[in-house]
């Protein structure tokens, strides 16, 4: 019975998300910390500029980042049959971090260049992990991918360490550090629009294939006996999940814990079946990052890095879940 209520409750998430997004546009530190009145918006051209060109893309990006990281997290957890997997672990996050740092040092510090470099290195991270896993002569495919992912992540973070060491401590280093902490402060329409096609395409694939995801979460031989072609289908979903992750990470940097904790919460509310758990993850993830980002940009005069807030909230939520009733 409680579960039924939760399921209905979950469909309220969509209107809640829409209303929160709308309110977020009026919330911030201009003209003073707190609310911007609609009258002011009509009268003040600067306020209108701010709402449409800064807050709207930023709110959109926050929702997208949360939705993409959570849906990817759920997908990877189910594909790897392991509830402790998160989207970054296949070398994707560290790859993106390396790409961003590399760009800040050598390619150029404009937002678009950094973003493109991060996306390319994120996908390179996946490719490296995948091709290394294919060469291992050890264990099943899950173990091989995890080991290869750990190795590739370590390589890239060593690279990031090297770049930080080489960076100019006054200009480049703070920029790298801030990127690594994750945040959406630099979001404008011109760097949000380029990631939309990949993000939407990937999320659509994951959404449509959510029943297949249930099938692929079973043991290899069972999935096969149900008519799946596990190798090929898993690869397709993996690429979609990592594609979405790479796209939003290139914009937002490392936003930790979202992809791990939100799928757990979603499963807790609506059950493990991906037909409900995937849409629930999308909505809940969007809402979570939106709220964190609202805090990030209003709590102090400076920007609080978003990644710090999501990690803090995520880790606390995780501890609460673990101490109360175990992992789901």
């Amino acid at each position: 019975m409680i579960r039924r209520l939760n399921r209905t409750g979950f469909y309220l998430l969509l209107p809640v998300l829409i209303v929160t997004a709308a309110l977020s546009l009026f919330f911030g530190r201009y003209p003073q910390p707190g609310w911007l009145s609609p009258d002011r918006l009509r009268a003040d051209p600067l306020a209108a500029q701010l709402v449409w060109n800064l807050r709207l893309p930023r709110v959109t990006a926050a929702i997208l980042a949360g939705a993409a990281l959570s849906a990817s997290g759920l997908t990877l957890q189910m594909l790897f049959r392991n509830p402790l997997v998160e989207p970054g672990f296949l070398g994707v996050s560290q790859g993106a971090a390396f790409g961003a740092a590399f760009s800040i040092l050598y390619l150029g510090r404009s937002t678009l260049t950094v973003q493109a470099s991060a996306a390319v290195f994120a996908l390179l991270g996946l490719w490296l992990t995948y091709s290394l896993a294919g060469r291992f002569r050890y264990g099943g495919w899950i173990l091989r991918m995890v080991l290869a992912g750990i190795a590739v992540s370590a390589l890239f973070s060593a690279g990031v360490g090297m770049l930080k060491y080489l960076a100019d401590p006054l200009t480049q280093l703070p920029e790298i550090t801030f990127w690594l902490l994750g945040g959406l402060w630099s979001t404008r329409w011109q760097n949000l629009l380029p990631i939309l096609p990949l993000t939407f395409l990937s999320l659509t694939v994951l959404f449509l294939a959510r029943w297949r995801l249930n099938v692929l979460s079973l043991a290899e031989e069972t999935a096969f006996s149900l008519g799946a072609t596990p190798g090929r289908e898993r690869m397709a979903l993996l690429i979609a999940a990592v594609g979405a992750t790479a796209a939003v990470v290139s914009l937002a940097g490392t936003v930790g814990w979202v992809g791990l904790i939100i799928p757990h919460l979603a499963r807790r509310f609506v059950g493990a079946d991906a037909r409900q758990a995937l849409p629930a993850s999308l909505l809940l993830g969007g809402l979570f990052v939106l709220l964190c980002d609202n805090l990030a940009r209003t709590v102090s005069a400076g920007e609080v890095p978003l990644g710090i807030l999501t990690s803090l909230a995520g880790a606390v939520a995780f501890l609460i879940i673990l101490t109360r009733s175990g992992v789901k």
Binding site: M78, R81, N82, P83, L208, A209, W211, R212, N214, V215, S217, L218, A219, E221, T222, F224, S225, L226, G227, A228, T229, R267, G271, A272, D273, R275, K328
Partner: protein
């Protein structure tokens, strides 16, 4: 029983794992007929599970041919094969908290198009499978919270919901106590009576004796003997299969298998 059209046939099948050195299956030939219960019996490592995997199409044979429903395995698409053969694996660890009904519903996948979601008829079929197994009351329970016997019943329900003419079970009674073992065996009988062809592996001769019509004795990748239970399960043939002294004794119109401690 229709002896002219076997539902499954293997002709001189040989199999070696990729990078494997020895033949895991050697010259396997057998035929299964509709509505029969067939037990593959043999010691651990005889190649029983591998045989099931080949019938599923998980690996292609190195030599020989497998036919299902009269057509070569290779002529079936993935979907058409999954409508012919269902598998109850030896163990299915389910890492997420699926409900029993959701899990059984997965058995309907072969009857759906690629990205189609199961509809009301599929839910009905899944509930029917649960009812048929007498576990309708488990529908809303979490799979992870089931007892060993219930868990095994749910795995079978998922395969039954698949509505295939051929059902493969890998060691279906291996971890069960006597009451649950009996439940499963009664169920296999019942499925066979309704026309399903059952092929299960076991290392326990008693299980085969209790329900099987046909028994296939395997050792080291070869079939040593196959045929009706009465002909195959004898002291001599079982001793040869297990390479251990044992005796088959007639008791009350059936037979029991005893380990032979006489030499000690």
């Amino acid at each position: 029983m229709n002896d002219h059209h076997p539902i499954l046939s293997l002709h001189n099948v040989w199999f070696t794992y990729p990078n494997g050195l020895r033949d895991v299956l050697q010259d396997i030939s057998l035929e299964l007929h509709p509505g029969t219960i067939n037990a593959v019996l043999g010691p651990n490592g005889a190649g029983k599970s591998t045989l099931l995997h080949l019938i599923l199409g998980l690996y292609p044979p190195r030599r020989g041919e497998i036919r299902i429903g009269g057509r070569p395995l290779t002529a079936h698409s993935r979907q058409s094969l999954s409508r012919q053969v269902a598998l109850v694996p030896q163990r299915e660890h389910i890492p997420f908290e699926f409900r029993v009904l959701e899990y059984v519903l997965l058995g309907r996948t072969p009857h759906l198009d690629f990205l189609q979601m199961p509809g009301p008829e599929d839910v009905r079929a899944a509930r029917q499978a649960l009812e048929h197994l007498g576990i309708a009351e488990l529908a809303d329970r979490r799979v992870s919270a089931l007892s060993g016997g219930e868990h095994q019943m749910v795995l079978i329900a998922r395969a039954v919901a698949q509505e295939t003419p051929l059902l493969l079970l890998d060691e279906p009674t291996a971890h069960l106590d006597l009451a649950n073992k009996r439940r499963i065996l009664v169920l296999l009988r019942d499925l066979a009576r309704r026309g399903t062809t059952v092929l299960f592996t076991t290392h326990d001769p008693e299980t085969a004796l209790t329900v099987a019509d046909i028994c296939i004795l395997m050792r080291d990748g070869r079939i040593l003997h196959q045929g009706p239970i009465a002909e195959v399960l004898t002291t001599e043939k079982l001793t040869q299969t297990y390479e251990t002294p044992l005796r088959v004794l007639p008791v009350d119109g059936t037979r029991v298998v005893l380990l032979d401690f006489a030499p000690y």
